[in-house]
Symmetry: C2
């Protein structure tokens, strides 16, 4: 265990808690408790962690907990935070991209913070925490420093970001991750309808991302919409005429590309 | 030079011709001519190719050309094909994703084909042709075999694809490449407005693509829309209220994700 190893209670056993708990344990911290409403969930994650007990309630007042990390769905966060009881001076942080720090400050005595790992997590897929940006926030300088040390024990990319900026970042992440994923799904469906293997598009997708990383994407935009190639646009809309949803997306995205092309970024 | 090296005339000196010409020369073919309407363009590309002369007209009838590769904008393709004159028995192919083979068959004597490298090309960025899918098409078996050999001299991923299926593939590529790039551009703009470095989102983008490659993207969809998290959706729409275009995209993409979630792929 590292010298500054913390005694941590994980509140939640979903995708974020699953990966974060194991990464924290690997970094030398002690995960003492795993709380989840669902017995199988808390037991499954506790079994992955050397020193953890599954916990069915939220009263940690008489435990040796340094830090409680709340990783529950946004909708449950306020209620869980309200119910949670921790020892005096323990940190209480949440891992949400969209929730403000305030949601934890209903209890004024609490040393509250945000500890948001900016990544998409699925239980099936291991992740390397060392490159995941961790965005932290706290009111008090002492709390900030402790959270920073905790985050730096996992990742080389630690950033102090306010609740307001984190919200903007979360919107940006929805565009870059959730919406992008949906478009990749649509392209896969279209290939399947044409009986073409989805692997055909992989080199194109890889190169698109490589280029969008090396340059501002608006600068390297290609395709019929940015060229103003109306013949191709109309042909594509004709091909999509049976798929109203895809067709609407095609139209709106093409219009957005055309509008951006006429006003490039500075 | 490899044994079956072809004598090739490149008709066009844009992004596709730029990379394709150099890859063909490296594979042992001889690029004898580079045609472009613009003198600086044909001269710049010819200078990159050991045996090439810049060409200001489209009459190749009395040259030793085995194959003319037309890599011009879609809108110019029919006119260029009509003007182009090649020796008897020479192949004439185009490199367009959206144009049918037919566009070359106005002259019935021609051995026409399609030679479509499925990739996004920019002059600044080198590409590795060996992994780029090349989609070929021709009416005659002999022509098909010659095109296949030509394509296989560049790439390990060569596919016979009909004009109709290639059109579908092109639509899918617009979703996977052009639209995805646009969304990445929007996310970058949003980060910039919040004074956050765009590198913050890179690990998330990489992981999104890795996941969407390993699984069907619809199966691994994450985010507020697929969770039906209306609080976050409304908060994000509020944050985007000054940016009508982004807001419309956010709404339509979220609705599309929600609709897909209720009807997952088979």
């Amino acid at each position: 265990m590292q010298q500054n190893g913390k005694k941590i209670a994980l509140i939640g056993a979903g995708n974020v808690a699953w990966h974060l708990g194991q990464a924290l344990a690997a970094a030398g911290h002690t995960i003492s408790y795993v709380y989840s409403r669902t017995a199988t969930h808390r037991e499954a994650l506790a079994a992955k962690l050397p020193a953890a007990s599954p916990l069915a309630h939220l009263n940690l007042q008489h435990t040796a907990t340094d830090c409680a990390i709340i990783a529950v769905p946004d909708a449950a966060l306020a209620t869980v935070a309200q119910e949670l009881q921790v020892p005096e001076n323990a940190l209480v942080v949440h891992t949400s991209g969209s929730q403000p720090l305030q949601v934890l400050e209903q209890k004024p005595s609490i040393r509250a913070g945000v500890f948001y790992p900016l990544q998409t997590f699925s239980k099936e897929k291991p992740v390397d925490f060392s490159s995941i940006p961790i965005l932290i926030e706290a009111q008090q300088e002492q709390t900030r420093q402790e959270l920073k040390a905790l985050a730096e024990s996992l990742s080389q990319s630690v950033h102090m970001v306010s609740s307001e900026a984190r919200k903007q970042l979360h919107v940006a992440a929805v565009f870059a991750c959730n919406f992008t994923n949906h478009l990749l799904g649509i392209s896969r469906e279209i290939l399947q309808q044409a009986n073409l293997p989805h692997e055909l598009l992989q080199p194109l997708i890889q190169e698109t991302i490589a280029k969008a990383t090396a340059f501002h994407p608006f600068i390297v935009q290609t395709g019929p919409a940015v060229r103003g190639d109306h013949n191709v646009l109309e042909e594509h809309l004709r091909l999509l005429q049976q798929q109203t949803g895809y067709r609407q997306l095609y139209e709106l995205l093409s219009a957005s590309i055309a509008a951006t092309a006429s006003q490039p970024p500075q």
